[in-house]
């Protein structure tokens, strides 16, 4: 098994907490390694299973199907022992604080802690308290860095680049950590990012994120290379942010008609899980331009790359 030190580091950080911590050259290096795992990750030799003998704990305070299983498969393919903490039946449910939970887990000396939490900043707080590498699997409305990396990898595989592409991110920008991570990553890599949403679903000051802001789909999608739809949660459609599901679908749901404003072979993406007939029409979600299933596939490769890269940085831990 190659020692961590014999593989070159990809980035400086000890954790993967937020895209905003990473330089473009570091992001490109992660994507290159992820591309390698996308091609070869399923049949690694024992020597290539660089996490053999290490422990990865998945700590999901919020429900997740695809992200949690994706991290689990990624760790296992690299040879790690993966444990899923079931929060609902744990001592958290008995009232333990986040920091006490972290200290308890830390005392068992895991190597990687994959955390999802409903509060923005919670994963970073936890990272300050533990001695292992922490991977943010989504914190509140802040960031979801591995999702942005897998989206970028998917786009790069189709266009061979990110620079200069027009990417329209549509729907519930306000509550979306996926949108924030994607905005940071794509604009860092030289893509032109647009956000398209009703004003009630746009965070204040969004224009200062370096994006173009649109309030209607026809203008926002015009000549786009990539159309990225976001999930709109049901409780946000009953008059609080948007009057109703049918109104949202009418004005912001991605239909073939609206997609026609984008470039002819524009990619259609969605981080899942989808509300069919709300933010995206089934004919589009399952259509020829959709790469939604490829995104899931790239998720495993990206998470393998991030785990591998964090392993390389271990020797540098002070």
């Amino acid at each position: 098994m190659p020692k961590a030190a014999s593989r070159p580091p990809l980035f400086a950080s000890q954790h993967m907490l937020a895209i905003s911590d990473f330089f473009p050259i570091e992001i490109a290096a992660i994507l290159d390694l992820a591309q390698h795992y996308a091609e070869h990750g399923k049949a690694l030799s024992p020597a290539q299973k660089v996490l053999t003998g290490q422990t990865q704990v998945n700590l999901f305070f919020e429900n997740s199907t695809r992200t949690q299983s994706s991290f689990e498969i990624a760790g296992k393919r690299l040879g790690a022992d993966v444990m899923n903490m079931a929060i609902a039946t744990s001592s958290v449910a008995k009232g333990e604080t986040l920091i006490d939970t972290a200290m308890t887990i830390n005392a068992m000396h895991p190597d990687y802690l994959v955390v999802r939490h409903q509060s923005s900043g919670a994963v970073e707080l936890l990272a300050q308290k533990v001695s292992c590498a922490v991977l943010n699997a989504g914190d509140g409305q802040h960031e979801h860095p591995t999702q942005a990396l897998l989206d970028a990898l998917t786009i790069r595989r189709h266009f061979g680049k990110l620079e200069g592409l027009i990417v329209a991110i549509c729907g519930d920008i306000l509550h979306s950590r996926v949108a924030r991570s994607n905005i940071h990553l794509l604009s860092r890599m030289g893509a032109r990012v647009r956000v398209v949403a009703p004003s009630t679903l746009l965070p204040s000051g969004i224009a200062n994120f370096g994006v173009e802001v649109f309030r209607n789909m026809a203008d926002g999608l015009r000549d786009a290379d990539v159309v990225m739809m976001l999930r709109l949660q049901l409780e946000r459609m009953s008059g609080a942010f948007v009057p109703s599901m049918r109104e949202f679908y009418q004005f912001y749901g991605l239909t073939e008609e609206k997609l026609a404003h984008a470039k002819p072979h524009a990619l259609v993406m969605h981080p899942g899980p989808m509300n069919r007939g709300v933010e995206i029409d089934s004919s589009v979600a399952d259509g020829a331009q959709s790469v939604i299933r490829e995104q899931v596939e790239m998720g495993v490769a990206v998470r393998m790359a991030v785990l591998d890269a964090l392993d390389r940085n271990k020797g540098a831990v002070t």
Binding site: P198, S199, N216, S238, G239, V242, P243, R246, E247, Q250
Partner: protein, 437 residues
């Protein structure tokens, strides 16, 4: 969208009158030439010699031709309370009062809060009403003040603005979202301004209320709600119209907001310009209004604010109530007064008393409401719809039940003689009212 009554065909000329259309610079002798529901020409050049021989003519000597009035606040009972008023009966009263477009309020039963209801009102109006009708739709679903109505779909169906007409939106976050969301659809948000927890009374708070032993409703209830709303306008940039203000302090608040450049307009009811709290007298329920009639100082401030343009529009706030809702002890009686028949004549009292010039009164009841809603009517100019009224400033008439065309008769002007009125009202080129004393 506005219901379109059937247009008249043929060419007709109104000659030898005074033509008044302030923003077109028309205020002098002249005439009006119309054809097939549209205005062909207006002004001094329209004379017997200029129009040719094919036109039918009407002599308007000693009369004034003004744009048809556009009333931004009309309650009808259709659907739900047709015994009080239908779109047809309200339009009959409107025509008699020189009003050619009624903007109807959404607090019907069922509430106008979805596209099908907007469509229903527009179809009913097209089939039954003499004048043009356009609905405002609800801001909140069911007017419950909780969840935002389908603003985009309502606009697509033809609603001209959104409004919860009789209650302030208590939840500041809902109003914030409404202003933010409506802005994307270029939809006006129209608000009733009255802090709900401060406004349980039935008359203006003060000495008069104390003497009558009635619960008072302080002017501050309005000012506080208005100030809060305007802060939200500042925050969101949404277009906002205060449906009606009733006191001097509110005038100051509006003036400051306009000085800041906020997208704000406001209205005042004709009753608050011509009556005050003392008119309530011996518990006369026809003077029970929401907001209540205020002090004489407030009334004077409102009149001055219309004259200087701080208040943009005058509305009738036409609210038909039947005997069973008005013939009750004062505190139990319903709020509201009819006003479509009498708005123009009552406004002319302010002209006769030299408080407001005629051009400004006409502007505040026609061109300015049209501008707020983006309507093409409200002006006398070639290419505009032939919606106008012929005014006789000196024609006096007595407001009796028999003279009122509204199905309900709760007019605070009952038994009074008013000086000046519309003697002919034309909508889309068709004469919908001709005065026959």
């Amino acid at each position: 969208m506005i219901s379109r009554p059937h247009s008249a065909t043929g060419r007709r000329a109104y000659l030898n009158g005074t033509v008044l259309s302030p923003r077109q610079g028309l205020n002098g002798p002249g005439g009006l030439l119309i054809e097939d529901g549209w205005i062909l020409a207006a002004g001094p050049d329209v004379t017997k010699d200029s129009i040719g021989s094919s036109a039918e003519t009407r002599d308007c000597k000693d009369k004034i031709i003004i744009p048809g009035l556009i009333d931004l606040r009309v309650f009808t009972g259709e659907p739900g309370s047709e015994y009080r008023e239908t779109l047809a009966s309200a339009s009959d009263a409107a025509a008699a009062g020189g009003v050619t477009t009624m903007i109807v309020m959404p607090n019907t039963n069922p509430v106008i809060d979805d596209a099908a209801m907007v469509d229903f009102v527009l179809r009913r109006a097209r089939d039954t009403a003499l004048v043009r009708v356009a609905p405002m739709a609800a801001i909140s679903k069911g007017l419950a003040g909780e969840a935002l109505a389908e603003v985009g779909l309502l606009k697509a169906a033809g609603a001209v603005a959104i409004c919860d007409p009789t209650r302030s939106i208590g939840n500041a976050n809902l109003l914030r979202r409404a202003l933010t969301y409506a802005k994307d659809f270029n939809m006006l948000v129209c608000a009733h301004v009255e802090e709900p927890n401060l406004s349980g009374g039935v008359v203006n708070a003060g000495e008069m209320a104390s003497r009558l032993g009635l619960a008072g409703n302080p002017a501050m209830a309005e000012v506080i709600a208005l100030e809060r709303d305007l802060r939200l306008v500042e925050m969101t940039g949404g277009r906002y119209h205060a449906a009606q203000i009733s006191c001097a302090a509110s005038v100051d608040v509006i003036a400051r907001a306009k000085a800041k450049g906020l997208p704000v307009t406001c209205g005042v009811s004709i009753h608050h310009l011509t009556l005050n709290e003392n008119d309530v007298g011996a518990y006369r329920t026809f003077f029970k209004l929401s907001p209540p009639l205020r002090s004489e100082d407030d009334r004077k401030a409102l009149v001055a604010a219309v004259a200087d343009g701080t208040i943009d529009v005058i509305v009738s706030s036409h609210d038909p109530q039947s005997e069973d809702t008005k013939r009750l002890p004062f505190a139990e009686a319903a709020f509201g007064a009819v006003g479509l028949d009498t708005m123009l004549s009552a406004a002319l009292q302010l002209f006769h008393s030299n408080d407001i010039v005629l051009a400004r009164l006409v502007e505040a009841m026609s061109q300015q409401p049209a501008a707020i809603l983006g309507l093409e009517s409200g002006r006398l100019a070639a290419g505009a719809p032939a919606d106008f009224a012929v005014l006789d400033l000196n024609r006096s008439w007595k407001v009796e039940d028999s003279a009122l065309r509204s199905r309900s008769k709760n007019s605070p002007f009952e038994h009074r003689t008013l000086e000046g009125r519309a003697v002919e009202t034309v909508v889309a080129g068709r004469t919908v009212f001709a005065y026959a004393p």
